[in-house]
Amino acid sequence: MSAGRVNESDRSYEERIALLEEKIQLLESSMDRPPARAPGRDWVLWFERYGLLIAWAALIGVLGTVRPDQMFAWNSYATMLGSNAMIVVLTLALLLPLTTGDFDLSVASIMGLSSMLIAVLNVKAGVPIVPAILVAVLVGAAIGAINAFFILYFGIHSLIVTLGTGYFVNGVILWISDSATIAGVSAGLIKAVILTRVLGVPIGFYYATALTLVIWYVFQHTSLGRRLLFVGRGREVARLSGVNVVRMRTGALIASGVIAAFAGVLYTGMRGAADPSSALAFLLPAFAAAFLGSTAIYPGRFNAPGAFVAVFFLSTGIMGLNFLGVDSFVQNLFYGGGLVIAVSISQLIRGRRPMD
């Protein structure tokens, strides 16, 4: 190889670098300006955040034009807010493992078991209501821990483990209840959940609201909440940044079990009885609300206020359709359709990248 050629290629190399640097300068200077974003972009963001609230209001308005006496009566809402409290709590139970990247399909079963345990202990075994509740909550925690053990120790996908444990728990419910509805739960619990009203709304609603605020605070304003998010979005990144991923995921699954058990407490209190099967029907509504909620308030991530709004958006729609005299199958249409549409919307936000 001749020396002349080397020099030539060196020079063209230098030239190329100079050109590249010029280009980078240009790019950088063009990127320095935009952060003062176009006003249109802010408006879109605002709409993304509060779109669900607007849709909720629109839904009330539309249904209200047809059934104004029922849709614009506070009493309808007071009842609806109270009777959906346990769905809010159940949805919140889902949010924690969903944020760390695990599905918990056993939450509805845990809620059913908790409800049934309280009834069996309180009515059949004569255990006072407070210890009965404590036992139910502890059992919820234990099931969460069992889920975590199989998911993390054996490395099985959470969908499979919780599908199995959920079904197993259903069997336990049927076993301890002899497949029968148990009524006559202590009046104290009923009073503490539904009979006491504030502004006409059963107090259970305020429990759910308080829990929503707690989880919102944890997700939004604590380092724990942010780490949970990192665990869900990039397990390897979190691990290499010193986050104990196993502990975080275990904690989320146990917390999910505890909160689901609390939903069972509200469910029992609302009805004063426990039946072996009805709780299972709330799994899909909770998932629908969790995913629909992830498109609002903090779009793109599972968040408590979004889930809260989503539950009441969906239940307002169902309430309105009931007022219109539509059959009860509409509930399935609404929740099932809601889940798929919610996930489609969040996929559009994510730019249609395949879900993990």
């Binding site: 060196d10 952060p35 604590t222 979005r233 691990r239 104990n244």
Partner: protein
Amino acid sequence: MSVARKPRVGTYGADALEIRNLTKRFGGEVALDDVSLSVRRGEVHGLLGSNGSGKSTLIKVLAGFHTPEPGADIRLYGKSVPLPIPGPKVRELGLAFVHQHLGLIPSLSVTENLYLGTLANADDWRISWSAAHRRAGEVFARFGLSLDPRMEVGRLSAVQRALLAIVRAYEDLRHASADHAERPGVLVLDEPTPFLPRAGVEQLFGLVRQCVDVGASVIFVSHDVDEVREITDRATILRDGHLIDTVVTAETAHEAFVERIVGRSMAAYESAAKPHATQETVADVTGLAAPGVGPVSFTLAAGEIVGMTGLIGSGFDNIPALLYGARPGTRGELSLRGRSFALSSLTPEKALRHRIAYLPADRLGEAGVSSLSVGDNIALPVYERIRGPFGLTDEGVAAHAHAVAGRAGVKPNAPGLPLAALSGGNAQKALMAKWLQTEPQLLLLDEPTQGVDVGARQQIWDALGDTAETGAAILIASTDYDQLAQLCHRVLIFARGRIVAELSGRDLTKHHIAEHCYRSMPQPA
């Protein structure tokens, strides 16, 4: 090594593969500059060059991934092929590829993998597995291989998998050229050996010789001069996109190869390495070992920047992750300013508490989360420190990240943007800043400037220089010799998992590093 193997130069007909005036640009960057070469019938043709020489671009043009610039002409057995080469049809044209990752499906059987192409493309409603296994067995017997056709591929050794991939490529070629046996085709082996033990390499070479003995041609792409000298008849060397030379292997010495790969012009680069004064040891590593690496021992002094490099497969790139406790199965001991602990019990959590930080090469898979904001990505290790009276707030995180990223020169400095919105260089600056704010005493980096533009690269180097001045020890694993020569006080060269050379002071030049890398391969027995 087989001395004086007679070159199997074809005497009849046109060359198997002829490439003329091949140029490929990416934007303004020239990856291949007017390259012409020919591969003869029944020849093993080596393709050598260091990272960025244009080897992979050339292979990707042949495989139909890249469209060459107009003016190029590629002929197979004298017949021009359409450009860009139609990817799905390369096999019918007479080209088959074995890439480094082999393209096998571990959960399927040997037979299923062998006939993957046919199974995936043909509609066959009555597959007889016993017949397929028997056919596969016959194929392996023809090559003298003892592979169980019913075995799951995941349970094969690395060598067996490589052999299977080569047999499959050869069989595909043979089927494609069934009706024109006078054009048996060209087999391209793209770096098949770096992770194989020596005995496996021998076996693989035996198979390659069988393929050429029946008339096929083989292009053997490699980093490894000794392997190229052992198996090839002729070899072409690329450097910076230019074709440097095509040589007859038997007439070319090891030295001559290295010279052509590295280039002599590098002598112009003087060592930029600063002599390192302080002797205060920060980290003392003894007996570090993991699968494929070690045992190795070395020390890092306060304010010292130490580089690690070697050829692909030499294990140097694992060292930062191992010292951070990021991989299980690590053995050895790390002594950090006098406090020593076993590497087997080290975890990232513990490492961070001892102020060890690690920036992985996989920017969006291991270093940062692309869907989360730049602010959160930066603040992750220091959330506790930036809490306000109401706990963490988006505003607090953004303000902190804005200050940190501003110092690091991240552009645009908008903490609310997702990390994915930043260019490679700016994302790397942000992720580097994430760790520098924790003031590590030992900073471990894997390819810190890969895919980073020139300007950002300089800023990252400056940041590393400043950090070293404060007394931290920095370890950089990289294959960018230029970077190592300019940035490091000392560079350790790895081969087959061990340190084989140490360069510092005046010896620390890009040229020397490259020379030692290519020379460090153990000579074949």
